[in-house]
Amino acid sequence: MASTAIPASIDHEDLFPASLVQGENDLHSVTETVCGVLEASKPPKSWYLIFTVAVGLLGVLGAMIVYLVMTGVGVWGNNQPVAWGWPIVNFVFWVGIGHAGTLISAVLFLFRQDWRTGINRFSEAMTIFAVVCAGMFPAIHVGRIWVIWWVFPVPNQMDMWPNFRSPLLWDVFAVSTYFSVSLLFWYMGLVPDLATVRDRAKTKVRKFWYGLFALGWTGSNRHWHRYERAYLILAALATPLVLSVHSVVSFDFATSQLPGWHTTILPPYFVAGAIFSGFAMVLTLSIPARKMFGLEDLITLRHIDNMCKVIMATGMMVGYAYSMEFFMAWYSGNSYEGFAFVNRAFGPYWWGYWIMVSCNVLSPQIFWFKKARKNLILVFIISLFVNLGMWFERFVIVVTSLNRDFLPSSWHYFSPTWVDVLTLLGSFGLFFTLFMLFCRYLPQVAISEVKNVMPQAHPHLDDH
């Protein structure tokens, strides 16, 4: 029959994108580039600067937590009717950021998106640190944190069990499962790279510690076979897990009867928002880091371009959810529901709402233009906007719905205290301290995975 040829010699950067690894790189130089960062006798000056500031903020966080525990949650602005103030806003904010890592390593893996290899180590680390920050907030929010273990199904002296019908308990399970699985996933990806560092180690100390955590990896193909299968399984498990975690976080709100919280689109909407904010944070971190540590060949403009597109797409999904909520609030004919949304946009916190809309829906629209996606400074600024907007999204959800509920006599304008503000800043200190340590002591790019998508890695078995 008529056999047709597809058009030959086409060159188009969208359909046939540039190579993932730029510059004159071979397998060995990739190892050199990545390991060079952690083998250098001193990190760049900017590392010291950021690390010092981060440790300082970490100290602030410590002080705030001690003050909180010794005094009580009254040091925060939380009070009726806004009993969930900044701590829960910060929790949702951080746990949202913690979604990009597993999304990049798991979902993009299942979608065969090779470009993820350049950034997945990085964003998985970010995920774990963000989840650490996130988990801290509900823990210190419970008041008497020394009995926080009551949330786990451990027999206690009162012979009571936690209430599994409560969404807050689902949260405990979802976030801790997510943290454990992300950690396993991250560590599993690290093992072959730790082996690389071990084999290059010059000092005994390095050889011992990296060797210890490399688990005796020899690059055996029989190992690789099971390793890849386990990686695929973990990816397949992590994908619904990512969906579930932020869905469960959304259940904290959506199972209530509060207008503005109780809406069925909240689970997918929260998930899209989490991916959105997570990718923004990856950009915020990777744009300076690739420069600081000389990783421009491995985290290329194409990676950034793709992330911009993901941000734009998820930004649209979030925008879709905003508009559906508004439409349904009117369509429902329920006056409380309608009021909640009018109050969001035009009530006392109107500024929060419009910051949210302009940062989350409007600002990413600039990524329609390829020029904008290639302008790193602009991309960096937009990524900051998105982070800001997503923090405000949670603020708007938590505070505007609570501060004016069904009973006008209990309406109350919420204001944070200085402790609220410093605790949030302190959580950034925790995050960046961990992140800077990671940048210094662990391979920032998944060496073996990047090698795997380089053209040199493919055996040519057919051209005999």
Partner: protein, 446 residues
């Protein structure tokens, strides 16, 4: 990087299969729809008309969501430069191209929308003359009743419920009225017909083009199209299905319908592909890897559907607010309990377990039966959404499932088959000069 020219092997033209398929589809449509109409209209029972229109709506939405799923599938492949799907993309394009045909089959739905005798969309007949009454009636009525004893209070409760209902309907009147309804439907169909035409044409143009201009053209428009499509599908599902229960609302409903549409579209593509290969077409261009990927989508969207369905159910069940919870209350009592459990077990748990293994996804003969199975369940899903509204709240309400439903659904599938048969005659069964075809034929799942 540039692609190497590739010689395609095998028979990739529909040839004289097209008219055969079209004839078969036409026969199925005439028999199915004819039998359904006969069952509906032969009876002198007034209720039977409403029953017929409900069943017609279910059959229409069942097949039309497949078509819409195919539209989305096609557009999104362009958006993300997908290479795995190139060899099966024409199948979804052929399905998508039937939107104008289904616009014609949507016309009969104007009868229930505009007739006061047929109760399908109750708001359509309720909206007339009730606008003013509902607004402040509740307060005054309660004032009159304030001195009533407890015996009268029960009547008061019923009356309040009734007035509350009228209030909700009145509040939606600016949206749910006949004029705006028809305007919106026309807008959706115009948009979709344009999309179908545009993307089909670009794909066919690529078959003969020298460069890759048509593919790039399709890609350029794909992002905006996806956004427009998302809103159009959501509001279409609100208008046609959600508003059957005029007081109920759920923000996730558009996503729920989308999940079912995409899932059924993928199943449909598996069936088309298996049929063509059984007839000796496309044998060299669709291989296990493509079925494996289609199977993964089936599995993923089975899970996604379950996720969305659970989110919607659990949140409404948990909060238990009267104006929402009646949707599930109706479906978890009497005749409908079984169907609801059936959805949970057969639309989610069983296919989830069944499609989990990679061996199933790569065994195309097994996968084929899963595709048929999921399509049937998709029909059950649509039926379960729409049909409990038939005679809702009246005496004698129940599950009227019978021959008419089956006949109409089969007839509507016949329409789709007829349309695809007609469309498939003029071009190859896959985009033969697509720039990504080379990658598509060479990839392997790990």
């Amino acid at each position: 990087m540039s692609s190497h020219p590739i010689q395609l092997e095998g028979d990739n033209q529909a040839g004289d299969l097209s008219p055969k398929v079209a004839r078969f589809g036409l026969g199925l449509a005439v028999v199915g729809l004819g039998l359904g109409a006969a069952l509906g209209f032969m009876s002198n029972d007034h209720d039977a008309y409403s029953h017929f229109w409900f069943a017609y709506l279910v059959a229409f939405c069942f097949v039309f969501t497949i078509v819409l799923g195919a539209t989305f599938f096609t557009i999104v492949q362009h958006l993300v430069n997908a290479h795995w799907s190139v060899s099966v993309r024409r199948l979804s394009e052929l399905t998508m191209a039937n939107i104008p045909l289904f616009a014609i089959f949507a016309l009969p739905l104007l009868v229930p929308a505009f007739s006061d005798d047929v109760e399908v969309w109750k708001w359509a007949s309720m909206g007339h003359g009730h606008e003013a009454a509902a607004d402040h009636g509740a307060t005054d009525a309660a004032g009159d009743q304030a001195h009533a004893g407890p015996a009268e209070a029960h009547d008061l409760a019923t009356q309040l419920e009734h007035e509350e209902h009228e209030h909700f309907v009145a509040a939606k009147e600016p949206y749910l009225n006949r004029t705006f309804f028809i305007i919106r439907l026309i807008a959706y169909f115009l948009l979709w017909m344009w999309m179908a035409r545009f993307f089909f044409k670009k794909s066919v143009d690529q078959d003969t083009a020298e460069g890759i201009a048509p593919t790039l053209g399709a890609k350029k428009v794909s992002a905006v199209s996806v956004i427009l499509f998302a809103f159009a599908l959501s509001f279409f599902s609100f208008d046609v299905l959600m508003s059957l229960d005029e007081t109920w609302f759920s923000t996730i409903f558009g996503v729920y319908i989308f999940a079912g549409a995409f899932l059924s579209c993928v199943c449909w593509m598996v069936l088309m592909s298996k049929f063509l290969q059984a007839k000796g077409k496309m044998t060299k261009v669709i291989n296990d890897e493509h079925y494996h990927d289609l199977g993964k989508w089936m599995f993923a969207f089975t899970f996604f559907w379950g996720y969305i369905a659970f989110s919607q159910f659990m949140l409404i069940w948990y909060a238990n607010i009267p104006e929402e919870t009646h949707f599930y209350a109706a479906r978890l009592t009497d005749a409908w309990t079984g169907w609801t459990w059936c959805l949970l077990i057969f639309h989610f748990i069983i296919p989830f377990a069944g499609l989990l293994s990679r061996h199933v996804k790569r065994n195309t003969n097994v996968l084929k039966y899963w595709a048929i199975y999921m399509l049937v369940l998709h029909w059950v899903d649509i039926y379960w959404i729409a049909m409990p509204n038939y005679k809702r709240g009246e005496a004698g309400a129940g599950n009227p499932f019978g021959l008419m439903e089956i006949a109409l659904a089969v007839g509507m599938i016949g329409v789709l088959i007829y349309g695809i048969g007609k469309k498939s005659a003029k071009q190859a069964l896959l985009p033969v000069r697509d720039p990504l075809l080379g990658k598509c034929l060479g990839f392997k799942n790990i």
